[in-house]
Amino acid sequence: MEVPDAEWKKGSAELLVLSLLEDQPRHGYDISKAIEMRSGGALKFHVTSLYPLLHRLEEQQWIEGRWVEKAGQRRRRYYRLTAQGRKVLRSQQRSWLNFVAAIGRITGLENA
């Protein structure tokens, strides 16, 4: 699989983060690990991109960050999806599917 180029990654970054937070709260490192693992290493976020993105999503009130302390560890900031974020995710998922479907129809790559 080709590594998606930067533009792709940028457009899809919000969707990726929101999707990962859909079923459980995660901290930053967890998010970056999950993206890397699930994409089989094809997608990788630089720390200097990831955290500004998280903070921006937070400011838009799509996600919500909270410091969580665990015994014997440094505290971490966990992010979870807000109700508004869930709506945005739904709409982004729809448009993404539409987008992918459209590309498929044009390029004939669907189910290739």
């Binding site: 930053g28 720390v47 991109s49 955290y51 903070h55 900031r77």
Partner: protein, 905 residues
């Protein structure tokens, strides 16, 4: 485990994020990096490699900031340009952080500034105490000094003279301009007897309304009542100086206590407020005593002062009524003076009254006869320390220039991210002002240490105004620190922020320093430093040489084998006959001691005498009404001229045959003889003020220095002790060897002859000369200290700029070496570069020093301001130090390894 938080903070620092945001972000990022690092380690990566990989993730910190510029962020400028206060707080935080990263730089800068500011604080405090703020009384602006002056024709002599007590009383009663007019004498020496021992003290005679005129409140007890100055000798009371009370009497209960002063029992009725030591705010008395006590207190010198219109001993201080001007007061007083002149034509004719602001009068007394000297010295000292501070500033500016070169990339990044130039300049100025303030804080400490040093050099522990670090001084230092911070910060700040963003970002780090202009600017600063330190060194060398010359000058008396001390039998309550017998016994016994060649008495101590006016010269025509004959008058015993080493040119010495019953005689000096009797003085006659009979001149002595070292000749009259009784005299001893060894045996003789007689002021001839040259010696010490300080700072600056230049040109030097240049030629190259600057500075300093030489000449004894030896010495010292400062970086340059240097490129 590496400290990720620290790394992250350092990377975030240039972004100037709002504090809360930055803290959170740093914590998250460092946690992330730590996780990543652990993971790499557990995957088998070497520690060093893992660190490299993780740290690399932080490379593009600019992204962290970029988000701030997004449109969805809150508008109105965002956190970048909040209120002034927020910006300032952020700038300060940033400045502190930057400073923490370079402790060496900060130490050097703050230390340099502290020296410069400290020197200024010391000098300013002294000047402040002497000149700017001398009187701790309420509403000092309405206080005026009232004095007498001689009128010659239409012009009035500028020299204010004291008033007699009766005149003062008339002025007080007749004037319509003062709410109070009071009088005081200069501090006079008195003897305090306590538990069988004697100590010396100073007392001032004052009118009863003295403290009222100054509007003071006693610290304890009360001040004088008007009846206490109403009848001679009736009210033996005194008010004590607060410092004296604290120091001599330990602050214990003093009110109502009786002190035996000059044999008189005085009751202490009050204590003056702390900090007040009299109108002359530099040197003050221990006691204030009503003027009516003059006669019992000083039976011989001030016996009739309270009633005699001819004895002028009081200085007037008046408080102007509200709304009245100085002119009004002057014309009122002139009217009274004219009336007094008509009423008492013998004494008061040709006398005017002057009214001056009190500050002017204080300066006149503080500076002695030449009050401009104190101004000149103060101005010169302030200029000198100003120069030191300028050097310190330019040094720091140079350092900041070099450092801002290293920070250019950081600055460019910040500008790329939208920071305005004004904002950056402000940020950098915040840093430099902060440095300035830190330097100032340390400078106050240094300044206080300097003050202790200066006051330690004052002769005697007498009643001097203590150094005060008051609000004015703190204000001065604060302003100075702020100004300093702006001064050395402004140029580097503008230079650093003026570079084009794109240009700098494209530049390789290695080529940063190549800007020609910046080097030129630092060079100019450096040349200035060298010039300034050169001027200070020349000045120091000149004054040093001049003192050397001064010691070789002939003062007209011998100094090598002389000891003098003051003895005061009159104050021990001796009668006239007892005093005479005492003087005779002591002189004969001391002269008989082995190791002593001769001994005698004199009323004057060399270099402490003041001229007396009103001497009458028989047959001499006054050129005008107020024309008066002024001369030093010295009462001396037999064998004085031999003992003091004053040669007789003509006539004879005083002998035991000159008695109070024989014909009155006098000896005059050459100056007086030439001025009044060009055809020969012997046999001519004069009369001293207050004497009834004429004295015949029997001898002419050589001129000597009486008041100051190296003074122009003054007229002098010697009269025999047997014909002019005196309650205090100075014992002169001429010794065969070291005079210090003979002081104790002589003291024992005096003590045996009169156990209760006060002895003081023991000093050798050499010490008298030291005292006479005290001012000059202080100047030498200060100039040398400041000159060396300046030289040190300039050398460090020179070293710094050359070291920087060598670092910048490593590659060029490497190429030169690789192409076969010898190490010696590289050494020459670098030293030549530095010494060119030094020579330029020397040239400028030389020209300036020659131009300023005329200012200097009044402080120099027999040395021209362009004295070649002093110039040569200054050049030699400066060149030697500068050469060393150049040599170190130059040697460093020769050790550049061509291979390494080239590979770096």
């Amino acid at each position: 485990m590496p400290d990720w938080n620290d790394l992250v903070r350092r990377r975030l620092a240039p972004l100037s994020l709002p504090p809360a945001e930055e803290a959170g972000l740093a914590e998250e990022l460092s946690q992330h990096l730590e996780d990543r690092y652990r993971e790499l380690l557990s995957g088998g990566t070497e520690e060093a490699d893992a660190y490299e990989i993780v740290a690399a993730e932080l490379d593009d910190t600019a992204r962290l900031r970029r988000r701030a510029a997004r449109p969805e962020m809150p508008p109105a400028g965002g956190p970048r340009s909040g209120s002034f206060g927020t910006d300032l707080a952020r700038d300060l935080r940033y400045a502190f952080r930057t400073m923490r990263q370079s402790p060496l730089f900060v130490t050097f800068v703050v230390g340099t500034l502290a020296l410069g500011i400290g020197a200024n604080t010391t000098v300013f405090t002294v000047v402040n105490g002497l000149i700017l703020n001398p009187l701790p009384v309420r509403d000092a602006a309405r206080l005026v000094a009232v004095a007498s002056a001689e009128v010659a024709g239409r012009s009035q002599s500028a020299t204010p003279l004291p008033l007699s007590y009766p005149d003062l009383r008339d002025y007080r009663e007749r004037n319509q301009v003062f709410s109070e007019l009071a009088g005081y004498t200069s501090p006079r020496l008195v003897t305090l007897e306590e538990r069988g021992a004697t100590q010396s003290m100073f007392a001032e005679l004052v009118t009863a309304n003295y403290f009222a005129a100054l509007d003071l409140t006693p610290a304890s007890g009360r001040f004088f009542l008007s009846e206490e100055d109403s009848a001679p000798g009736a009210h033996p009371v005194a008010v004590m100086n607060y410092a004296t009370w604290q120091r001599r009497f330990g602050g214990e209960a003093i009110l109502g206590r009786t002190l035996r002063v000059n044999g008189l029992a005085l009751t202490v009725v009050g204590v003056a407020p702390p900090g007040f030591i009299g109108v002359n705010a530099v040197f003050g008395p221990d006691l204030w005593i009503p003027a009516a006590m003059a006669e019992p207190l000083f039976p011989s010198t001030m016996r009739k002062v309270w009633i005699d219109r001819g004895q002028a001993a009081f200085f007037g201080v008046g408080r102007l009524r509200p709304g009245l001007t100085l002119e009004r007061a002057n014309s009122n007083m002139a009217g009274i003076a004219a009336a007094l002149g008509r009423e008492f034509p013998n004494i008061d004719q040709g006398r005017a009254a002057t009214v001056r602001p009190i500050r002017e009068a204080i300066l006149a007394t503080a500076g002695g006869p030449a009050s401009s000297t104190i101004f000149f010295a103060s101005a010169a000292l302030l200029a000198v320390v100003g120069i030191v501070l300028l050097i310190a500033c330019s040094n720091v500016a140079n350092l900041l220039l070099a450092r801002s070169a290293a920070r250019r990339q950081e600055i460019a990044v910040r500008m790329a991210m939208g920071a305005s130039r004004a904002r950056l300049v402000r940020q950098m100025l915040t840093e430099s002002v902060l440095l300035g303030l830190l330097g100032g804080a340390l400078g106050v400490a240094a300044g206080y240490a300097g003050l202790r040093l200066v006051y330690g050099m004052l002769p005697g522990g007498a009643n001097f105004a203590p150094p005060r670090l008051d609000a004015t001084v703190f204000g001065f230092t604060l302003l100075l620190s702020l100004a300093t911070g702006l001064l050395f910060g402004l140029i580097p700040a503008f230079k650093a922020s003026s570079a084009g963003v794109a240009e700098v970002l494209k530049e390789e780090a290695r080529t940063i320093g190549r800007s020609r202009r910046r080097v030129t600017l630092s060079s100019a600063l450096l040349v200035g430093q060298v010039a300034l330190s050169f001027i200070l060194l020349i000045t120091a060398a000149l004054v040093l040489r001049s003192i050397g010359r001064a010691y070789q000058m002939d003062p007209g008396f011998q100094t090598a084998h002389l000891a003098v001390f003051t003895v005061s039998p009159g104050q021990a309550g001796y009668s006239k006959a007892q005093t005479r017998a005492f003087y005779k016994e002591v002189r004969e016994r001391v002269a008989a001691l082995p190791g002593i060649q001769s001994a005698s008495w004199a009323s004057n101590v060399p270099l402490w005498a003041r001229p007396l006016s009103g001497i009458e010269v028989e047959g001499w025509q006054k050129r005008s009404q107020a024309d008066t004959v002024r001369a030093i008058v010295n009462t001396v015993d037999v064998s004085y001229f031999e003992t003091a080493g004053v040669a007789l040119e003509n006539g004879r010495e005083f002998t035991a045959l000159d008695r109070d019953t024989s014909a009155p005689v006098a000896i005059v000096n050459e100056k007086m003889a030439r001025d009044y009797w060009p055809s020969g003085a012997l046999g001519k006659r004069i009369r001293l003020p207050g004497e009834t009979r004429m004295r015949e001149i029997v001898g002419v002595a050589r001129n000597a220095n009486y008041t100051t070292w190296g003074e122009p000749p003054q007229a002098c009259v010697y009269v025999p002790l047997a014909q002019n009784d005196s309650e205090t005299m100075n014992l002169y001893i001429r010794t065969a060897h070291d005079p210090r060894l003979m002081m104790e045996p002589a003291e024992r003789v005096v003590h045996a002859a009169g156990p209760m007689v006060l002895m003081m002021g023991q000093r050798t001839g050499r010490e008298i000369v030291d005292g006479g040259l005290f001012q000059a010696r202080v100047v030498v010490v200060l100039l040398t200290v400041f000159g060396l300080l300046a030289l040190g700072l300039a050398s460090i600056g020179l070293y710094g700029i050359l070291a920087y230049s060598v670092a910048r040109r490593r590659r060029e030097i490497g190429v030169r070496l690789a192409l076969g240049a010898s190490r010696a030629s590289v050494l020459r190259l670098i030293i030549g570069e530095g010494m060119t600057l030094v020579l330029a500075g020397l040239a400028i300093g030389f020209v300036t020093a020659l131009a300023a030489g005329r200012l200097m000449s009044r402080m120099l004894y027999g040395v021209s301001a362009s004295d070649p030896l002093s110039l040569a010495a200054a050049v030699a010292v400066l060149s030697a130090v500068a050469l060393l400062a150049c040599y170190l970086p130059a040697r460093w340059a020769t050790r550049v390894d061509p291979l390494t240097a080239l590979r770096e490129s």
